[in-house]
Every structure is written in structure tokens, then in C-alpha cells.
């Protein structure tokens, strides 16, 4: 692969395996995966399939047992872990906000770590809260416990975007929300990521979410990547697992329930 091509790929998994010490079965087996700049890759799979582990290998919360994860042309183990993480936005369920920080302090966290001056941080926080639909004058001074689940999730996204990182990792960001809030947040996020042109890796077990947000969908099962296709080809696939997922979608469509 030449340099230009490598530059196109923001994240590359090369024969990555991961297992816990003393465990017999690996959590991730021989994963090969490229994430191009600007795309939203959705990793889909049931609980325990290894999709969250895959995510944590990118920002070096975990280190591969074999193979390597390359971010911006450099293996994660060659990166300074702190510098690497500050270039990657991370959103988890419920936002993972610090309960003892105000929303403004949570959102301004990474810029603060990067040593921005206070004025610039304040401006950025206001801009981001506007962007995710939280009126700054109303929410900046509140604590996470004073917000609804959806509002917390918005704040979490704002925090991940604060230092304008090239890459976003999202671990079931909308999983804990009620169906209506989830649907509207998903739409807003799709709009937002198109507008900002960020590269994102999103983990979910919700096919509808995958179809709505993904440029490509990676289906994971027992630590392996079964399939990696754009949504239209995913829908047309005759893979058994894919069909099973699409079945559930059909059921919810007919029955009108989401879970």
C-alpha cells in the first residue's frame, strides 16, 4: 500500500487479535479492517461479539495481543497514549459525563487538557452546546444529574467534538434512550456528521441505527468480522446472520414495537 493510500485510511486493523490473560477463547480474532477518512463505519453485532473491544483498541484503552492497529499511519503502540486519545473523541452510553463537573466543564475538558486559554474554551463550549441543541445559557452551569438522558447524550457528543478531533468513537451512544428521543438524536447525528465530515466508528446492536448512519456496516460475530458492506449491499446480502438481523427489523416494522 502506498503512502497516499495509507493517508486515505485513518484507521487500519492488521491481523488484530485480542484475548484476556489466561483466557482460552480470544475476544477478537484476526481482524482486518480499514476505516477511510470521512466515513461512518458502524460495527453491528449482539452483546459480547467484540465490537466494544474493537473500539477500545483504537484509542489504546486496550492493546492488541497480536497484530497492530494503525491510526494516522502509526501503530497505536508507537503513539503516546495521551496524545493519541486527545485526537480521538469518545462517546459512551449516557455520555460518561463527570458527575462533579458542570456541563460546560465537561465539554471544555479536552481543550483544557490541551492548554487552550479560558476565553477560547468558553467560546468553543458555547458553540458546541448550540451545535448539539443545548441552549448554553440554560445548560452550561447545570450538572449532569440535572439533565435528561437525551440531553446528557447531546452533552457527551459535544464533549467528544470539543477539540475538533479527526476521529470519533461512539459506543452505543443512543442505547439508553427512549425510542422517540433515540430516533431524533440519530437523525441529528447523521446530519451533524455529514456537515462536519468527521470520521466515526460507531458500535450498536440496532440494525435500524446502522442503516441510518453508516457509510459501511461491519457485522461482527464471536470476535470475527463476517461482512463489511455499504447499507444497500448489506440489505441485499444473503448472509444468514444478516437475514436474521433483517428479520428482527421486519418484525418491529410490522409489530410497531422497537425491542
Amino acid at each position: 500500500m502506498d503512502d497516499a493510500a495509507a493517508n486515505q485510511q485513518l484507521v487500519q486493523f492488521r491481523n488484530v487479535s485480542f484475548s484476556l490473560p489466561h483466557a482460552s477463547t480470544p475476544i477478537i480474532s484476526e481482524l482486518n479492517l480499514d476505516v477511510a477518512r470521512g466515513e461512518t463505519l458502524v460495527l453491528l453485532g449482539e452483546s459480547g461479539c467484540g465490537k466494544t473491544t474493537t473500539l477500545k483498541l483504537v484509542n489504546r484503552l486496550l492493546v492488541p495481543s497480536a497484530g497492530e492497529v494503525v491510526v494516522e499511519g502509526k501503530s497505536t503502540t508507537a503513539w503516546d497514549a495521551i496524545a493519541l486519545r486527545r485526537r480521538i473523541g469518545y462517546v459512551i452510553q449516557e455520555g460518561g459525563l463527570f458527575p462533579h463537573f458542570t456541563i460546560a466543564a465537561n465539554v471544555g475538558l479536552v481543550p483544557g487538557l490541551l492548554g487552550w486559554d479560558q476565553m477560547r474554551i468558553q467560546d468553543r463550549v458555547r458553540e458546541l452546546l448550540d451545535l448539539v441543541g443545548l441552549a448554553p445559557e440554560q445548560f452550561a452551569k447545570r450538572y449532569p444529574r440535572e439533565l435528561s438522558g437525551g440531553q446528557r447524550q447531546r452533552a457527551g457528543v459535544a464533549r467528544a467534538l470539543a477539540a475538533d478531533p479527526p476521529l470519533l468513537l461512539l459506543d452505543e451512544p443512543f442505547g439508553a434512550l427512549d425510542p422517540l428521543t433515540r430516533a431524533s438524536l440519530q437523525r441529528e447525528f447523521a446530519e451533524l456528521s455529514r456537515r462536519l465530515g468527521k470520521t466515526a466508528i460507531l458500535v450498536t446492536h440496532d440494525v435500524r441505527e446502522a442503516l441510518l448512519l453508516a457509510t459501511r456496516i461491519g457485522l461482527m460475530h464471536r470476535g470475527r468480522l463476517l461482512l463489511l458492506e455499504p447499507p444497500d449491499r448489506f440489505l441485499a446480502s444473503d448472509n444468514q446472520q444478516v437475514r436474521a438481523y433483517l428479520e428482527t427489523l421486519a418484525v418491529t416494522e410490522r409489530g410497531g414495537t422497537t425491542r
Binding site: N59, L61, I82, A83, L84, R85, R86, I88, Y90, I92, Q93, E94, G96, L97, F98, P99, H100, L109, V110, L113, R159, L169
Partner: protein, 504 residues
Amino acid sequence: MNFWQFLQLNWPELLLLIRQHIVLVFIAIAIAVIIGVPVGILLTRHRALRGPVLGIANVMQTIPSLALFGFLIPIPFIGGIGARTALVALVLYSLLPIIRNTVTGILGVEPSVREAAVAMGMTDGQVLRQVELPLAMGVIVTGIRVATVIAVGVTTIAAAVGAGGLGVYIFRGLRQYDNNLLLAGALSAALLALLADFLLGLVERRRKLVPTAAAVIMLLICVLPLRGGSSNTDNTDNAGKVTIGSKDFTESALLAEIVAQMLEARGVLVERRFELGGNLPHEAMVSGTLDLYPEYTGTSFTAILHHKPIGDPRAVYAQVKQEYAHKFKVEVSAPLGFENTFAILVRGAEARKLNLKTISDAAPHTPKWRAGFGQDFMSRDDGYPGFSKAYGLRFADVREMDLSLTYIALSSNKVDLIAGNSTEGRIATLDLFQLADDRHYFPPYEAVYLVRQDTLARVPAIREVLDKLANSISTDDMRRLNYEIDGNRRDPKEVVREWIGGKR
């Protein structure tokens, strides 16, 4: 005297003791926090250390406080008598709750929050300072709160090593069977504990107060000790100073006060370290923190030098004098003129009814009697084991209790025979009868002063005073003086001042 009158009379002293108490607790807790929180943090980073360190801290807490003070006395630098030893013990006691709660608090932080912090690109130090410590603060403050309340209680024991504090009143109250003293000491300590609990509870609920509270504590630590925290020790020139100790009973404190006042009258600077428990005065004198204290030849002979009891007073005195000079570089003064031996006491009415004069007379009756003995008598070589064998005594029951309580127990029919002190003022007032030691079992307990040889050389006035006191206090004198304090509840300093005035 009722409690209210007692308080009106003694409030300046009580306030001083409360201040000493607070200073001791404050400093101990501050040191324990400065050590305990970082150790707790370290334990969250090194799982392997957690078991051993918490185990050691746990063991520390199970050592009875008096025993811990005892262990510390002979240790150089941190030991000795006074506030320093007390602080070391208090810190050791306070460490466990603080370390444990620091560990629990930090490990109790929501894993997703910690993970988010790491994923944001925080360094370990930033995660600790900005996320883990603030979120664990409530639990850590709870640990400090528990440690403080425990420390307020343990500090009452610190009086036994001469550190001052409210324990002075509690110990004195127990000894003199004075409920006012006991109440003033115990009630104040309890109120202090409640106050500390309340204030730290406030801090616990309002985390924002933590920095303020920390600042206040640091400020107080800087300011308080300078204002005479540990009695009259600081800011004085040590060159001509004599540190006088006493054991923890009225007579010993009286004898020490007599020397102290006579030395002060000769312009010598005196530091009083009275009411030290157990063998502390001896150990403190040998280690150099005490210069002088009153002792009894029989006690030195048996309890310190570990000889078998013998009956000849001259022989005991001569041997004690010679061995002390040789072994401890300590001089033994001439006898003061009275003995304070164990007095085997029964109720006067009982003695008259059964026509008892000697211990041998009583032997046939003892299988029906209950005996009450102090801890000291139960444990020492010349005490209960040898005594009961020498007279072939058997009792229906033997109870170990506080010595000062045995007199009341005897007069109120709770026990039938006790081993008191022959100079005890209450022997006459409670109508108790001393059985004669017809087999001369008890060694002679002549009162003397012990003084370090180097102190004698340094302060010549001591010899002058000791010569003057030789053979000048009779057993009757001593009983009367003891009764003035224990019976009439008078101030020892005043009683001694009168006595010295009368002698002149």
C-alpha cells in the same frame, strides 16, 4: 461540692485540658491524613500491596492503646513521655480508617466515568486529581470523621504518658473516686467527639467546604501548639530545668509536688510530668526524659530489679541504692520517714466482731470471703500469688478491680478483704482495719526520691532539698495529706504549700 460548683472552681484548668485534647487530636489527624491518603492512593495503583498494608494498619488498631504507649516509651526520637509519644500512637490508630476509606472511595468511582476520563486523554495524575479524588472525597471524609471520633476517645488514654488532655481528669477522677472529675473529663470528651462528628459531617455533605476545612486545620496546626498546647513545656530554656515525674496516684503526685515547690522556691525551673501509669516513670527516667520521681524501695527491689521479696528494710535500701547507681546512674535519696506498704484491710466492725488482729487471725475465715485487689497487686511478684501462699489463704472469690475502688467496695460489703495502701487517707474515715503482717511477708516500702546522677550534678539545689526532706514525713502526716486531697477534695498544690509552710 456539686458538679456546677466544681465547674465554676475548675473551669480554667478544664479549658486548658480541652485545648490540649483538641491540639493532640488535630495534629494526629492531620499527620494521619498526610500519610494515609497518599498511602491509600498508592494501594489503588498497586493491588499486591493492598492486603499487607491494610493488614498492618488493622493490627495497629487492635493493640490496646495503653500497651501501644508502653511499647513506644523506650523508642528513641518518637518515644519518651509527653505529647510526642501520644501523637505517634494516635496517628497509628487513625491510619486504618483513612487508608481504607481512601482505597474504598477511589475504587468505588463509577468505572465508566474513570474510563471516559482515560479515553479523554487524561494522564494518571489528572484522572486522580480531577476525577477520582473529587468523587471519592465524600468517602475519604467519612474515614477522617471516623478516625477523628476514635482519636478523641483514645486521646483520653494519652494522659497516662503525660501528654495531658481530658484523660487527666478521667484518670484522676477514677483514682480519687471523684465523680465531678470523671464527669468533667468524660462529658467534655464525649461532647468533643460529638462536635467533631457534627462538623466533619457538615463537611462530608458539603464537599465544597473541604478546601476551607483543610485550610482551617492547617492554620490551627501552625498556631495552636505555639500557644502552650502541651502544658508548660515549650519555649523555655532547658539548661537549668528539672523534669519531675510521679506515678498515677495521689501520694506519688503529692511527694512530687513537694519537691517541685521546694525547688521552685530555690529558683529552679520545674517541669511537672505527673500521674504517669505503670512503670512509665522508671522507663522515662532511665531514658532521660524524667529527672526525678518518688518511689518505694520495695517496688524498686521487686518490680524493677526483680529480686525475691525480703523483710529487712536496711538491706533492701542498701541494695536498691547500690544497684540503681550502678545500673541506671540514678541516686536514691535518704528515706522520707514513712512506709507505704500493702495494707491488708477488713471492715473495722468485722475485725472487732471476730477479734482479728493479724493476717494469720483472718486465715480461717477467708474461704467464706470475697477479696478485691488492684491490678498492680494481682500482677506483681510480691503481690497476690506470693501473699496467698505465704499465709495459706483461700478465698471464695478474688476480683481484680481499680485500686481506688476497692476501699469503697470493702466498706459497702461488696468484698470482704482488700490490699490497700497503708497511707491511704480513707482507712480511718471508712472505718477500715489494717491486719498486721505477722509473718513479715511484704517487703519494706520506704518512700524515697530517685534522681538521675547527671541532674544532681547539674542542679545542686536538688541535693539540698532532698537532705531537708530526709526522715521528715511520718505515716500519719502522709495519711493526713492524702485525706486532704482524696477525702476533702482539696487542691494538691495548696495542700503541699500549707505543709511546707508548717514545716518551716
